[in-house]
Structures are given as C-alpha cells and as structure tokens.
Amino acid sequence: MSKIAGHSNLLIMAYQNLIRYRGKSLAILIPLITVMAAASFMMFTRGGFVKDAQIAKQFLPDVTVQAIEAGRVGKISLGLIKKIEDIPHVKKVVARTWGYLPLKIGSVDTAYTLMGLDIDNLFVSSKLPWAIEKGAFLTAEDRRKAVLGQGVALSFNADVGDKIQIKDTLGNKGEFEVVGIFNNTVQIYSTDLILVSIDDARGFFNYSKDEASDLLVYADNPENADLIAREIAGRFRNIRVLTGKSLTDLVTEAFGRRGGTFQAMWLILLVTVLLLVWAQSAHISVDMSREIGILKAVGWQTGEIIEMKMMESLILSIGGTSAGILAGFVYALMGTPGISGYCLGCASIYPKFPVPVNCDFSSVALLFILGILPITAISAIPAWLAGIVDPDDTIRR
C-alpha cells in the first residue's frame, strides 16, 4: 500500500508541475488534441460506414448474379431465372435493370444511376415509407413514374408532381413524373438514384423484354448463400456471382484501406507533434533544473525524478488523446463540415447528409495506442536528462 501511495504522490507532483508550467503543457496539448481529433473523426466515420454495411448484410440479396461479356459486365438473360430457381434452397429470383446517366451540371461531370425494379416480385420492406420524405414509393402499376434521391431532386430542383425529361445527343429520351423523393437519412444509398419500373428502365436503355442488368437471388436460409453461389457458378458460364458477405467485405476493405492511407499520411502530423514534445521536454530551464537540484538535495532519487517526468508525459498524452477523441467524435457527429469532400468523395455535388458514425472499441484502443505510446517513448530521454541533473551544480548556479 505504501508503494502505491508513493507512486500516487509522484503522480500528484507531476500533475502540479504541468499546471505550474502551463504554457509548456498547452504547447504540447493543443497540437496533440488537434492531431488526435483528426485521426478519430476519420476512424469513427469509417467505422460508421463499416457498421452500416455489416448490418446491411442481413438485408442484401443472398446472391447477385451478373453476366460477363468479354470480361465486362453485360446484359443477363431472364431465361436464367427459371434455371436458378430450380437450384435447391433458392426461394426467389428477381431481375433488376439499371444504368448510368452521365450528366453535366454546369461544368461538373457527374453520373447518376437510373434503376428499374420489378415491383411485382420485389421484397418491399414494410419500413420503406419512413424513407420517403415526399410523395410515395412506386407501385406495380406505375409507368413513366420515378422516385428520386435527394441529391437528384436538389441538384435539379425537382419536386413531387414535376416531370423530368432525360435526353441524349442521339435523340433517345425518357420522361418520368416524380411521385416520391427519398429523405435525408437514406441519402448514402439513394442520393444519386432515379428509380423507375423495370419496363421503363428496359425501354430507356434499349434492353429487350428478356434482358436485365442483374438477378437478385434470395435463399430460404442465409447459411445456404455460399452453396447456391457455388452451384450457380458451376452450372452457368460467363457469369459473375456475388454473395452478400463479399459485398460487405468490400465495403469494410474499401474503407479500411481508406482509413489506413489517411492514417499513413496522418503520421506526418504525429511526427510533428513528437518533435514538438521533444523540443519542449528536452529543454530544461534554469528554474526547473534548480527545482530538480533541490529535490535531489532533500533526498529524491534519480529514478523518482525520471518517474515523475515520465508521468508528466503520460498525463499529457492521456489527457490530450482523450480530449482529441471526444472532439473528433463530436466533429464526426456534425458531419465533418469543411472536409467532407475527402471523407465522402463527390460531396461537392451532393448536399450535406448525415454520416453514420460508430465509435467502436478497437478504434478507440488504436487511438490511445497511437496517442500515448509514441509520446511516452519520446519523453524517455528528456526524462533521463532531467533525472541526471547534478544538484550541487544547479543549486550553485
């Protein structure tokens, strides 16, 4: 117990030293908080997308089938639907037709997605009406009607009841009445979408009646997804098969790589902070060296001085990291204003929308490791320099 009391006394002394030399402490703390906040908002934003993708795994189709023509994705024949439905454990197969609309908004090149759904056969979620801000979702009878994502509606100032006319330079065109607009919350999945019936999409993209872009396969049990995927890949040629798990892994990896690249660049900032810590800690002022000399003269050991100095850097690093993580979390919750362009990609053409944020244990643990260990390591030598100060030299000065 007395040993713990001894260490806690050193901790109190270290804390009081930091308060006394608050200028020096703030010079280390403020850059550290900024740097850790930058790392944490990126990690939490990434964590939010990954968690969303993991939750989405149970809602995605179990298998998605696309046709490959000469190594590129092409049109798939609807004749495959019956053959896939014959495979054991397949509950349902739904066709989907979609394509891109390269559009110019002012001078910015953008690409929106026009997607046609087979409303008759689709699994329409009972909670979908919550996601519609204005109007309603498509019904099976709707023709020449569209539901827009918020990004499309706001970019072109379209509202429910308006008509959108899409034309290309060769004269192909489509005209759709807007019947619904998705809300802000679901923008991450729908912001660039123009949703129409599958027949309208086929007509627009010149697909014949028995063609589609891909087939969504639903299994009787999610455990059978891999089995079905292997069966489909084995039976049919020139197709590509994607399981729900692989789509989720793709998001995790894409954002993991993005987070890792950002972190590698962020290391430059961390090195700057470390140099700052070194510069502040290694310089022992006359007052401080006299203080240490007096402490040694009254009986403090070299080891105790070193321990106290290490505790100072530990308190600074823990305090700075914690404050940085909190600040980063709040900044992420606010939607990362100012730099969402990097985090979110083409956000320059999209309005601000809520970004899912996930503060998970592994991210916090990594942040603490990155915030505390390098600073503690770099403070070892300055702590030693402080500890070996000769009392008689410093007191006489």
Partner: protein, 355 residues
C-alpha cells in the same frame, strides 16, 4: 466465401502491401521499439564491458547515469513489445478479408509463409524474455547493491538483436503481400492425409491427457515451491537456488507442456469446441469460440511466469538476496499458479459442457 480478387494494393515503388488502421499502428509501434532496441543494444554492450560497482573512477559515475537511460528506455520498449504481441494477431485478423481464400489466420499466414509463422512464433517466445528482464529490473531496483545489474546488462544485447530481427520480419511480412490465392486451413490440416500437419492432426485424446498430467505436475510443483519459498524467507535457503540444472530442466518441461497444449488444442479440443469433428484448426477455434482466447492467454501467462521464476531464483547471487526478494518471488508463484489454475478451470468447464 466466394473467391474474388479483393485486393487493395498500395503501390509504393513496386512494393505491394495491404494497408489499414491496424497495420499502420503496428508498424508505428514496431519502428519505435526498433529504435529503442538499437539504442539500448549499443549502450548496453558498452556499459556491460566497463561496469564495475566498486570502482571510484569518474567513468563509473557516468556509466551509472547511462544505466538510468538504458533502464528507462528499455522499460518503455519492452512494455511496448509486450503490447504488440496481441496486436500482431489482431492485425493479422484484420487482413483476412483482404486475402482471397483466407478464412482464418491460417490463410493469412499462408500468404507469406514461412515469414509469418516465424514472426508468430517469436511473438510467443520473446514476451517471456521481455517479462524476465522487466521483473529482474524491478527486483534489482529494490536493493541498494543491485545484484542483477550485470545480468541485466548482459541480457540487453541479445534481446536487442532479437527485437531487431522481429521488427525486420514483421515489416517484411507487411510490406510484401503478393496478390495470390491462398489455401485455407481445411486443405492444410484436414484434407491431405499424407502431410505431417495432418498426420499430427489426427483426432485423439492422448495429447489432452498428457497436457493435463503435465499441468497438474506443474501446479503441484508451484504449490511445493510456494510453501518452501515462504519458509526460505527466514532460512535464506532453497535447494534449487542458483541451480542451473533445475533451471534448464524446468524450462524444458514447461516448454514441452506448452507444445503439448498446442497439440491438444489442435487434435481434440478444436473439433470438439467448434462442433466440427473433422476440422482441426486453432485459428478457427480462437476466432469462433471466445473463451479460447481467455484460457489460452491465462495458461500462456501462467507458464511464462513459472519459467521466469526459475530464471530469477537460479541466477547468480540469488541466495544472498533471497531475504529481500522472497516476498516478490512468492507473489510471482501465486500469480503463476492462479493463472494456470484459472485457465485450466475455464478449459475444463468448457470441455465438460462440450462432451
């Protein structure tokens, strides 16, 4: 799982690597500990050559000052390396989705074998050495005569070289992950009947029984040593103090016990706990069954502390300083015993439920 080339290749002058938060963090910690290891290795060798506690020369005073530096940075460095051992496995786990064909750590290891297996083996061996130095240093600082100073300083250079080797292997592994399909644990351990791994993997209770016998023997040894060590506080004598033969034999027995533990996990415990009678894979077991990590870590720490106890009490000059350190050695034995017993209890309960 469906094979897709889910490669996120970062091309840096022809080097291909997978990059994510955990890998970057691990590399940062690796570079810091490497730097610390290099500084410590050079200075440690220099101080060890010139050290003479009875000398009155100025040089000895400067050496004593330098020793404080060594102890400070090594304590930070070894603590960092102890933390990096579990971080290594978590980092490898994060690479599973980036390597086509990998379903568990076996696949990740196969992406760049044998570097990966050597690196993982070092993560199990070197923490014992780091722990030994930290405990030796802790005891040494409690005595004014610092009886273990020479041993501490002698130990630094070889450990520094091992840290260097470990850091090089780790970095090589992360910086060279060629995009290729790997085989998973099933084809490695279960399917081919001729290979040595699958021959060793035959489902059998033998290794489990041998493991239990060895662990019970070690626990009884701990109990015996605990009682005698408590008494030796006053008498100052234990027949095994400064006995190198005992140290070597106990190290061999404990290492053998750990190897048998791995075999027991591989042959019988993993198929039993996973519920897959023909699947022998420790990595899948650690991934799917959460209490595996708990009892694995507890048994590993228990055995390591047991080895460290013998390395300390069998070192030179220990008999003279036993009255000062006896309490601490008793605590060490207590921790070792509790960890082993706790790990064994968790394993046994799960085994009874699974059977």
């Amino acid at each position: 799982m469906f094979p897709l080339p889910l490669w996120e290749r970062v091309r840096v002058r022809g080097i291909q690597m997978i990059i994510n938060n955990l890998i970057v963090t691990y590399l940062v910690c690796s570079f810091i500990s490497l730097f610390i290891g290099l500084v410590a290795a050079f200075n440690g060798f220099y101080v060890w050559k010139k050290w003479d506690i009875n000398s009155q020369a100025d040089e000895q005073y400067l050496l004593e000052k330098r020793v404080y530096l060594l102890i400070t940075i090594l304590s930070v460095g070894f603590f960092l390396r102890l933390l990096m051992a579990p971080l290594w496995f978590f980092t490898m786990h994060s690479m599973i989705i980036s390597i086509p064909g990998a379903m568990c750590l076996a696949g990740v290891h196969n992406a760049n074998a044998p570097l990966s297996y050597i690196a993982s083996a070092l993560k199990l061996v070197l923490p014992a050495l780091y722990g030994y130095w930290l405990i030796l240093n802790f005891l040494d600082r409690q005595s004014e005569i610092q009886p273990f100073m020479k041993q501490k300083l002698l130990f630094i250079a070889p450990v520094g070289i091992l840290i260097l080797l470990e850091a090089i292997i780790d970095t090589s592994f992360f910086f060279s992950n060629p995009p290729r399909q790997v085989s998973c644990c099933t084809s490695l351990f279960d399917v081919p009947r001729e290979n040595i791994p699958s021959m060793v993997s035959q489902s059998t209770w033998i290794w489990v029984i041998v493991f239990y016998m060895l662990i019970l023997f070690i626990l009884l040894t701990i109990l015996y040593l605990f009682i005698i060590q408590k008494r030796s506080e006053y008498s100052g004598h234990g027949w095994w103090f400064e006995n190198k033969m005992v140290m070597v034999s106990e190290t061999l027995v404990t290492t053998f016990a750990f190897a048998v533990f791995i075999l027991a996990l591989h042959t019988k415990i993993s198929p039993l706990f996973l519920g897959l009678p023909f699947h022998h894979c420790i990595f899948c077991l650690c991934q799917e069954v959460w209490d595996t990590l708990i009892f694995f870590v507890m048994i590993f720490i228990g055995l390591t502390l047991f080895i460290i106890y013998f390395w300390v009490v069998c070192s030179e000059n220990y008999k003279n300083v036993n009255p000062i350190f006896s309490n601490n050695m008793v605590k060490l034995l207590k921790w070792s015993g509790f960890m082993l017993a706790g790990g064994l209890a968790v394993l046994s309960i799960h085994m009874v439920i699974a059977v």
